[in-house]
């Protein structure tokens, strides 16, 4: 296999982000059953690689917006880790003061605009944000990243948004993480079997790519993503990327739910063979990072995550009188 080498510093950044997302999600899954995180929580477990790779390609000045399953995108864009956890616990120190919970994350300091909980309804907002980029100063070559899933493409507003982005030549990256399920319903029960999402999207007149990130050649995935992004930046045009993915746990909540038998055993087995930790680690090693360094990254993260969870639990809640006066700007 031919690997396009990544630089050591880039690999370090990707690994740090990957393990940060994965370890925070795992810790949430461990804490969730105690009942202190009391909001619908859609974990990104199993879907960390793409955001980690993009994390090193997105600029601070790029915009991003996402969905109910948005922890990974928030973290990839550089969203504050403490304020994410505090938000899940409903604390006033949360990124949305505890008013939004897991599905409404925001960090404007890194231009992460928000995550919304109605399927596809952050997509047109992202398109409008891209229009703002273009209106303000086209020369910056900044992009707006819009993350969504395979269910969202079935909503009318997805088609509306794609049409507008193409018509107005907006700097948008549409990123469809296709985990094959809308809650418990498989894509084959929702979309014609032979039709691939990225091919369908192409019909709108947008350049589309299918990019795999669940393999041992992540350098190749990174290269494809980089080229795609550069093309969009240089041409100030929208681009659509479909990325096949697989969630490890249930749609909403911390547990495995494969005993419900809504996912095909063969498909489960096939995805179980993907060892993301190994793929990421080996990419790092190829870039000259030592196994010990990787262990150190993990250890440092585990400590800081532990610290975050301990401190967040002591934080106060927003008092209801403040909430009442907060409906209008």
């Amino acid at each position: 296999m031919v690997y396009t080498m990544t630089t050591r510093s880039e690999s370090l950044a990707i690994m740090e982000k990957y393990f940060a997302i994965r370890l925070i999600e795992k810790r949430i899954a461990i804490e969730y059953p105690s009942g202190e995180i009391r909001c619908p929580t859609h974990l990104s477990l199993g879907q960390e690689v793409l955001p980690a790779l993009l994390g090193s390609l997105m600029r601070d000045s790029d915009l991003a917006i996402s969905t109910h399953r948005g922890h990974s995108h928030y973290l990839a864009k550089g969203g504050d880790r403490y304020r994410l956890v505090a938000e899940l616990y409903g604390k006033v120190t949360g990124c949305s003061k505890g008013r939004g919970g897991s599905m409404h994350l925001v960090d404007l300091s890194v231009n992460f605009l928000g995550t919304t909980a109605i399927v596809a309804n952050s997509i047109p907002v992202g398109v409008g944000a891209a229009a703002a980029l273009k209106l303000r100063n086209e020369a910056t070559k900044d992009l707006c990243f819009i993350f969504f899933g395979d269910g969202a493409v079935e909503e009318g507003v997805f088609a509306e948004s794609l049409n507008i982005a193409v018509l107005q030549e907006l700097p948008v990256m549409f990123i469809c993480e296709n985990n094959a399920f809308s809650v418990y319903t498989h894509q084959k029960d929702r979309q014609p079997h032979q039709r691939r999402i990225y091919e369908w999207a192409r019909g709108f007149g947008i350049r589309t790519e299918l990019i795999q990130v669940n393999n041992s050649n992540l350098e190749q995935s990174l290269k494809q993503l980089r080229e795609a992004l550069n093309w969009a930046r240089e041409n100030s045009k929208p681009l659509f990327i479909e990325v096949p993915s697989w969630r490890e746990v249930e749609h909403c909540g911390p547990n495995s739910d494969d005993h419900l038998a809504y996912r095909d055993l063969q498909e489960i087995a096939q995805w179980a063979e993907v060892d993301q930790d190994l793929n990421i680690t080996q990419m790092g090693i190829r870039a000259g990072i030592l196994q010990d360094e990787i262990e150190e990254i993990r250890e440092t993260l585990l400590k800081s995550i532990d610290d975050i969870f301990c401190r967040v639990k002591e934080d106060p809640y927003e008092i209801s009188t403040e909430i009442l006066g907060s409906m209008y700007a």
Binding site: L63, R99, L113, P124, V127, A131, I164, L167
Partner: protein
């Protein structure tokens, strides 16, 4: 706060012109403001309300849009949270129903839901249709739905001055504001004072209500939008009959001037609320409900409302003829509440005059020269 521009007070403007001038003044004072919507730059220019904008401010700030009401509203939110406020427009309220997700789940919630960090300064213009066969899906006003949603503000102009002032106020408000204009006020004429908008500082719209009165109030009539123009045509007859009244026109319905209504009813003892939506769940009932819950409302007789019946409007000119209440019914309702003897000769005379006026124009057009198409 705002300086008035001196205008010849004799010069009359239509509501359409007032809206147009308001947008011109706003776009002049805020170079970030954009306006867009389906048909905004077409030959008709949204009943004339967007005339001259494209020519003056260019296609980057004044642009037509795909037939995508929902995405259009999300797009406006995306612009707004990145520093670009907008005025969007829909030529009928019903088309905008496709945008309820963006309006209710995003626009209304955004500021609160993300911890009061990002305001959403958008103004959405909706046009209510009436008459000329507007029928089942071009004639509804669902203003009470929108007033029901925390996070939104809802305003309804009724004459040229309020059309101008409310649009300016809406754009200066940092929150999502729905600006509902009735098709039948577009050509209504009146005087207009424009504002000097040098420093368009953001300021929240508070409850606004126009109070007009005559004599010692024996009844409070509450109305909004086009209905206020209808009530005004009765002023003269009421004066001749020496009926004292307070006529309150709600210019904002979210928030609204409940306290002003309460104070008026305390003086007058009687309340009539007019609405042009279906009766069940109507805004008129919201007002009556609030009044009915105060121990000392001052009501000496039950409050009354006039609304449209709970029906779907047919298209046919003939079958809409006796569907809705008209000026005469408003007049008779007021007199009935005041227990005026309807067979009194002067009362009969006024009834006749109002009837004649009504018969001079077909029931389904705002004026004799209206020829549609919408």
């Amino acid at each position: 706060m705002h300086k008035k521009i001196n205008t010849d007070s004799k010069e009359l403007f239509s509501v359409s012109q007032s809206i147009n001038l308001a947008i011109h003044d706003l776009m002049n004072s805020d170079s970030n403001l954009v306006t867009f919507g389906l048909g905004i730059n077409d030959p008709k220019r949204i009943f004339g309300t967007t005339r001259g904008l494209l020519e003056q401010y260019g296609s980057k700030r004044v642009f037509d849009f795909p037939t995508s009401e929902n995405a259009m509203t999300g797009y406006a939110i995306g612009l707004a949270i990145n520093g670009i406020p907008s005025i969007t427009v829909h030529q009928r309220f019903e088309f905008f129903l496709l945008a309820m997700d963006q309006l209710v789940n995003n626009a209304a919630k955004w500021y609160f839901m993300f911890g009061s960090q990002t305001a959403v300064p958008i103004v959405i213009r909706l046009v209510i249709g009436k008459g000329w066969g507007q029928g089942p899906t071009h004639s509804q006003s669902l203003h009470s739905w929108l007033a029901h949603i925390p996070g939104l503000k809802v305003v309804m102009p009724h004459d040229p001055q309020s059309a101008y002032d409310l649009l300016v106020d809406s754009v200066l408000d940092p929150n999502p504001v729905i600006y509902i204009e009735h098709r039948w006020i577009h050509e209504q004429m009146g005087t207009l004072e424009r504002r000097q908008l040098e420093h368009s500082k953001k300021s929240a719209i508070l409850a606004k209500c126009r109070r007009e009165f005559q004599g010692r109030p024996q009844i409070t009539v509450v109305s909004f939008s086009y209905l206020s123009a209808r009530v005004k045509t009765l002023y003269e007859s009421l004066e001749i009959l020496k009926v004292g009244f307070e006529h309150l026109t709600l210019e904002t319905i979210q928030p609204y001037a409940l306290q002003t209504i309460k104070e008026s009813v305390k003086k007058s003892g009687r309340l009539l609320v007019l609405d042009f939506a279906a009766r069940t769940g109507s805004y008129a009932k919201e007002i009556v409900a609030e009044l009915s819950m105060s121990r000392d409302s001052g009501l000496v007789c039950p409050a009354t409302i006039l609304t449209h019946p709970d029906i779907i409007e047919p298209t046919s000119h003939y079958s809409t003829r006796n569907l809705y209440y008209d000026d005469l019914e408003i007049f008779l309702t007021i007199l009935t509440l005041l227990e005026v003897h309807l067979d009194h000769p002067e009362v009969q005379n006024q009834i006749k005059q109002i009837s004649n006026r009504l018969h001079s124009t077909p029931h389904d057009v705002p004026n004799t020269y209206f020829r549609g198409p919408f």
